[in-house]
Every structure is written in structure tokens, then in C-alpha cells.
């Protein structure tokens, strides 16, 4: 019987997903096997689980809710420097946690800029520490991601649809109902799931902004179990809880996101005919301005703090920067090798498995994964000798869910639009990927690679177990500088890191769009 001929196979993607799953679950299993009898989970652990879910759900909800109007404003306005603003707004996402937190507190802290302003007005300083502080910080980190994902959803609505809507005399309300709500129903659940997963493994941010032990997360409990009690079994159990929570979120998201492709267009630049009224313009401009202020002020603080230190950085910092760039390059390559076949597999209908495998890297505690890999590698090889490859691989796996969010919708679209034409020409498998799929996904590949490179650059990597003292990455070197009282040099190094991350992101994202004409 003739079956629907698929232009690309799912086998490679399934293989990539299996590699990821084996890496994460294998590491987890290694920790379990190595564990001696320890304490089970106590009431304090369950309190940590409750708080973790609460803050992650709130953070995801607020991030996506705020991202919708901001993304819409960015989708329907054109102004000079728009692309720069969008790129720059993504920066918080790729900063090392400690750097971003200090930047955030320079603006919103008790002694921060906002509190100073309030002081002049005779008001008490801002009370940032508490659940709202945790959510604020997580929104700061994740709003850019949510905006980018949703903005992408907007840009994938073909220009023809907006033209049709304009022709029908549809105003903003009708455009929302006809075009935007269906798009959001498709894009928002995925964004929610990813941000929920990121916030599940939050530790330093939740604790610092949470103001005390009330803000204990599962990751902190894992840290405690591992370092304090050397209770590997408990650490692994807690990580399983993280994974279960993330997978549940992913399943809900996959179910909620109806597979409703926006359909094909002719690559026309999107022009909007709705929302041309003065009120809508003022509203959009105000929203973009507010979001930019919220995201860029703490970045400005990072730049100001680092400006003094960056002129006089010790040589080891430059070496660390070089190593970080190298790790980011390898990591980005690995990311694409894993993510592209997985995106293709989703495009031909293997959705749920890919999504879950993709989220695993994000869901599992980095501490437990690092420990598990250490247990596996230590008997056969020197962990230090493998420090950089392992760091690159783990960074790639952690960036995978973001890459999938970016690549999957486009892959689905390309396969739906060009799959039949390809099939009629016997253009299948690698030829379809090489001649049609990859060229049609250039912009998305560039974006995903840029994000992956920047994330890898900013990530602390696989905890201290693999931290080769002679080949420290830049984020690790920043921590070392801080640990040695060198706060000014650390701030300078953080500025360097910010510049490198943004540079890598910009170059790759830009590269993807270069000559990417219709």
C-alpha cells in the first residue's frame, strides 16, 4: 500500500534523542548505583518541592504573560535599531547567574538605583527579597527567551494572512482572534514548559533573592545531600523528582499545543495593516520601552561595574576567555548535530519523545549529572583530561530544549510545504536535508547556534568535579576572582564574558540571516 512518503527519516533524530536520554539517565543511574543506604526524603524536602514548583510556575506564567504584549509590539513595529534591541534584550539569558544577580540588585536592590530614586522621593527602599524577588529575577532571565519564541511565532504567520485580514477590514481585535490567538495556542505552551523547566533547577537565584531558607529549592536540597551528607541516593531521588516534574510539564505542553501549522507563504516581508491607530502605537512604544528598561538597566549596571576592571584584566582571564570560546564552539557544533535531526524527526511526526528527550538535559540537576558522569568516567579516564569535551557536551545537552523550540516550528513548516514537491522529485533523506531543509532553516539554525554558543559561554559547566585548574572557563575564573576578594577584576571579567556571549550570539544569528533571501 502506498504510505505517505516522508521526505526525511526519523531514525537519526531518534538516535540523537536516545544519546541524550542515555547520557542523562545513565548518569542518574550511575549515581544511584554508587549510593550507599541513606536517608529517605523528609518533610523539608517536600517543602522544597512545593516551593520549587510554586516559584517555577509563577516565573513561567509571568514571563510568558508579559512576553505576549511585548512580542506583539515588536512584531508590528519597525524602528531603527530594532534588531539590535532584540539581540541585546536576550543578554540576561546568557549571563552567569552571579553576574546577572549582582547587576539586577544594582538596579532593584536595597541599595540599588530604584531605591535611591525612592529615597529622594522620601519613600523606603524597594523590598526585593522574597517570592516576588525570585519571580522578578526569573522573569529578568527568561522574559527575553519568551519574547523571542513568541515573536518567532508571530513572524511565522505568513504575510498573506495579515494581508487577507487587512482586506477583510479586520481590526486589532479580529486579527487577535483570527491569527494571533491560534498562534499563541501553538507557541505559548512550549515556552511555558521550557521556562518552567529552567526555573525548576534554579538554586542560587532562588536562594539569594528569596531571602532565606523559605526559598529552598530542590536543587539546594540536592546540593546539601551531596556535599553535606554525601547521600548520593537522596540526591538522585531528588533529581528524579525534578525530571518527573519537567516531563509532566512537557507532556502538558505537547498536548496543549495543537499541531496547527501556520501554512505556507511566499517569504514576503510581513507588513501589518492593523494597529495603525495612535493609541496602539503609543501602547506598543511604551511596552517596548518598559521591557527594554527592565532588561537593559541591569545590563548597564554590569557594564558600569566592569568598566573599571576590564582595562586591567590578569592574563589568566584572557586565557580563560579563549578556552570558553573554544568550548562554546565545540558545544555549538554538538548542539546542532543533536538538535537538527531531532527537529526533523518532530517534523515527520515524532513529537512527544523528542520534546521530552530535549527537556531532559534541562530537567536533571547539573550537580547530579556531573557526579554521574564523573562516576562513569573516573575508572576509565582522567576526568580532568576530559573536562573540556564533557563540559561542551553537557552544555550542548542543556541548550537542546531551546534549540528545539527554535528549530521545530520551522522544520514542521518546511516539511509541510516542500515535502510533496521533494517527494515527487525523489528528493529524500540526506538530499532533502541538504538541498531543502537546511537552507530553508538557515535563519533558525543561526539563531539556535547563537543562543547555544552564548549559553555555553555563560554556563558554569559541569560543576567543580570536572573543573580542570589549568583550563578554567571564563565563568569559573570569575568565581575564582570573587573568591579571592578580586571583585573589581571579577566585574571586568564579567563584562568581557557579556561581550563575548553577545558577540557570539550576534555573529551566528546574523550569519544565519546573511543572504537569506526568498
Amino acid at each position: 500500500m502506498a504510505r505517505r512518503a516522508e521526505p526525511v527519516g526519523a531514525a537519526v533524530g531518534i538516535g540523537a534523542a536516545a544519546v541524550v536520554a542515555a547520557l542523562i539517565l545513565g548518569a542518574l543511574l550511575a549515581v544511584f548505583l554508587r549510593a550507599e543506604a541513606g536517608a529517605g526524603l523528609g518533610p523539608a524536602d517536600w517543602a522544597a518541592v512545593r516551593f520549587t514548583v510554586l516559584q517555577a510556575a509563577l516565573s513561567a506564567g509571568v514571563s510568558v504573560t508579559l512576553a505576549v504584549p511585548v512580542a506583539r509590539a515588536l512584531a508590528r513595529r519597525r524602528f531603527p535599531g530594532r534588531r539590535w534591541l532584540i539581540a541585546l534584550m536576550g543578554a540576561p539569558f546568557i549571563l552567569p547567574v552571579i553576574v546577572a544577580v549582582l547587576g539586577l540588585l544594582t538596579v532593584f536592590g536595597r541599595g540599588g538605583w530604584v531605591s535611591h530614586l525612592l529615597g529622594w522621593a522620601g519613600l523606603p527602599p524597594l523590598q526585593i527579597y522574597g517570592l516576588h524577588g525570585v519571580v522578578l529575577a526569573h522573569v529578568f532571565f527568561n522574559l527575553p527567551l519568551a519574547v523571542r519564541l513568541i515573536l518567532q511565532g508571530w513572524q511565522e504567520i505568513p504575510a498573506e494572512r495579515f494581508r487577507l485580514a487587512a482586506q477583510l477590514g479586520a481590526g486589532p481585535r479580529e486579527v487577535r482572534r483570527l491569527l494571533e490567538y491560534p498562534m499563541l495556542a501553538r507557541v505559548a505552551p512550549g515556552a511555558l514548559a521550557v521556562i518552567f523547566a529552567i526555573c525548576l533547577t534554579s538554586f542560587a537565584v532562588a536562594l539569594t533573592l528569596g531571602g532565606g531558607p523559605k526559598a529552598t529549592t530542590v536543587e539546594l536540597a540536592i546540593y546539601q545531600a551531596f556535599r553535606f551528607d554525601f547521600d548520593l541516593g537522596r540526591a538522585a531521588m531528588l533529581s528524579v523528582i525534578q525530571i518527573v516534574l519537567t516531563c509532566a510539564a512537557a507532556l502538558v505542553a505537547v498536548r496543549a499545543a495543537r499541531r496547527d501549522s501556520p501554512g505556507g507563504g511566499l517569504d514576503r516581508p510581513i507588513r501589518r495593516w492593523d494597529a495603525t491607530g495612535r493609541g496602539a502605537r503609543v501602547w506598543d512604544t511604551g511596552l517596548i520601552g518598559l521591557a527594554a528598561l527592565f532588561l537593559l538597566l541591569p545590563l548597564a549596571a554590569v557594564v558600569l561595574r566592569g568598566a573599571a576592571g576590564v582595562v586591567d584584566l590578569p592574563g589568566v582571564v584572557w586565557l580563560a576567555a579563549l578556552i570558553s570560546v573554544l568550548v562554546a564552539a565545540i558545544s555549538t557544533g554538538l548542539l546542532l548535530v543533536l538538535a537538527l535531526p531531532m527537529a526533523a524527526a518532530v517534523a515527520v511526526g515524532r513529537r512527544a519523545g523528542m520534546e521530552i528527550a530535549g527537556l531532559l538535559g534541562l530537567a536533571a540537576s547539573p550537580l547530579v549529572i556531573g557526579t554521574g558522569l564523573f562516576i562513569v568516567i573516573n575508572p576509565v579516564a582522567d576526568p580532568f583530561a576530559l573536562a573540556l569535551p564533557v563540559t561542551a557536551l553537557v552544555n550542548a545537552v542543556m541548550a537542546l530544549p531551546f534549540a528545539l523550540r527554535i528549530l521545530v516550528p520551522r522544520a514542521v513548516q518546511v516539511v509541510e510545504r516542500y515535502g510533496r514537491l521533494g517527494a515527487s522529485l525523489d528528493l529524500r533523506g540526506w538530499n532533502f536535508a541538504r538541498i531543502v531543509l537546511l537552507p530553508r532553516m538557515r535563519a533558525q539554525i543561526g539563531f539556535a547556534a547563537g543562543l547555544g554558543a552564548a549559553l555555553s559561554m555563560g554556563d558554569l559547566g559541569v560543576i567543580a568535579l570536572f573543573a580542570d585548574p589549568e583550563h578554567a572557563t571564563l565563568p569559573l575564573q570569575i568565581y575564582r576572582l570573587m573568591g579571592s576578594y578580586r571583585m573589581e577584576a571579577a566585574a571586568g571579567a564579567a563584562l568581557l564574558l557579556l561581550a563575548l556571549s553577545m558577540g557570539a550570539f550576534w555573529a551566528l544569528d546574523r550569519g544565519g540571516r546573511w543572504h537569506a533571501e526568498a
Binding site: A2, R3, A5, G264, G422, S424, L425, I435, R440, A518
Partner: protein
């Protein structure tokens, strides 16, 4: 020779039955009311829709289970017949080798086909830089190099103006006459059928009727066709 043996092609809740033969070198128009199943029939023959019952044979060989690209078929869709990021020459070249690794002879064949459809000099253009008529010509050049014995057209020229469409149909007629290919083209315009088709397959109420001589059928249409043509 194309032979449909008790074929049922399903497209969701809708199905088309067909049981007839098309002679080699015939030029067949597939006409009928909107939603009667013209596209379903063509896509079943091309291999994009599963055949639920029956067999499709080409020269006695059962091709029912063949994937679309392995059938003796070259097809043009209603739209999206060109890859927008590839040049005209690359789009045409895909008709020879899906991996685009062409040798000098094959590149010469591509150039000849492009010249034959009147696009000489536009080889390195991308589809967006071509007019609608030129895009259709590029797609036809690919059909030409594919050299498949059965050409299926699913109204690829519907968006063109009457003069341009007539020009394209004449070009198609010329091409199949040169290659001796069998042509099946979906159309909703009896004028198209009269222009180049010597036979007509009428699709109505979920059934594709055997081919009949064009002029005879259109001059004395059965009731369903009368309804469609508005001549009742």
C-alpha cells in the same frame, strides 16, 4: 499505458473510485465540479494519497506501492513548484538528480531545457526574481528534464491570465508531443480541455469516469457535466 484497476483513493472522509485505462501519449483533461475529487485522483496516481483498494499499473507493472519519486510520474502542483532558495538551474537540475551532482552532459541538458521553455539567460535567477509566467516555464523545464512518461498537472497555471495560460498550455502540448509522454491535467475550464486535450476524464460524485473523446463529450454533456458547465 496507465491502468487503474478498481481503484479507491481515500482523502480523509472522502473517496474517489476509478477503473479505466489511459492510452500512451494521450492528452487527458480531468474536469468536474469543485470538490468532486479531481485533485484526489491525481494525487492518488502520483502517490501522495494511499490507494485503499485496487491497483495502479504502468505498462503492466504494479506501481501502487511505489513512493512518489519512483513512479514514472512528473507532477506540477497548484503552487509551490519551485524551491525559493534555489536558482532556476538548480530547480531544473533536481529533475535529473535529486542530489544535484550533475556532470557536464547533465548540465547541458538543463541548459537546453531552460532554453527550450524560453528562459535562456535566467539560469542563475531565484524564483522570486521571476514573473509568474517565467516561474511556470521553469517548472516545465524541470518536467522536461525529468523525462517521465506520465505528466500530471494539478492546475499549475490557474493563477495566470488567460493569454499567459493559453501560452503555457501550448508549451505543455508541445513538450509532451516532443517526448511522447502521456498527459493528465486537472482543469475547471472546458476551454483548456478543448485547447490541448484529446480526451476528458469526468470526475463527479466520487467517481472518475473513463476517458472520452473531448469534443464529443463537451458537445453533448451528460447531466452532471451540464450542471457543472451551466448549460442545462
Amino acid at each position: 499505458m496507465l491502468k487503474l484497476e478498481g481503484v479507491v483513493i481515500r482523502n480523509g472522509a472522502f473517496a474517489v473510485t476509478a477503473d479505466f485505462e489511459v492510452a500512451d501519449g494521450a492528452k487527458v483533461a480531468v474536469i468536474g465540479p469543485s470538490g468532486a475529487g479531481k485533485t484526489t485522483l491525481i494525487e492518488g496516481i502520483a502517490g501522495f494519497l494511499a490507494v485503499e483498494r485496487g491497483r495502479i499499473l504502468w505498462d503492466g507493472r504494479d506501481i501502487t506501492a511505489e513512493p512518489p519519486g519512483r513512479r514514472p510520474v512528473a507532477m506540477l502542483f497548484q503552487d509551490g513548484n519551485l524551491f525559493p532558495h534555489l536558482t532556476v538551474a538548480q530547480n531544473v537540475g533536481l529533475g535529473i538528480r535529486p542530489d544535484l551532482k550533475l556532470d557536464a552532459d547533465q548540465r547541458a541538458r538543463v541548459a537546453r531545457a531552460i532554453a527550450r521553455v524560453g528562459l535562456a539567460g535566467l539560469e542563475v535567477r531565484k524564483p522570486a526574481e521571476l514573473s509568474g509566467g517565467q516561474q511556470s516555464r521553469a517548472a516545465l523545464a524541470r518536467v522536461l528534464v525529468q523525462g517521465r512518461p506520465l505528466v500530471l498537472l494539478d492546475e499549475p497555471f490557474a493563477a495566470l491570465g488567460p493569454a499567459l495560460k493559453a501560452e503555457m498550455l501550448d508549451l505543455v502540448a508541445g513538450l509532451v508531443a516532443e517526448t511522447g509522454a502521456t498527459l493528465m491535467m486537472v482543469s475547471h475550464d472546458p476551454g483548456d480541455a478543448r485547447r490541448i486535450a484529446d480526451q476528458v476524464v469526468l470526475v463527479a460524485e466520487g467517481r472518475a469516469h473513463p476517458p472520452q473523446e473531448t469534443t464529443a463529450l463537451l458537445d453533448a454533456p451528460p447531466p452532471v457535466l451540464q450542471d457543472y458547465l451551466g448549460t442545462a
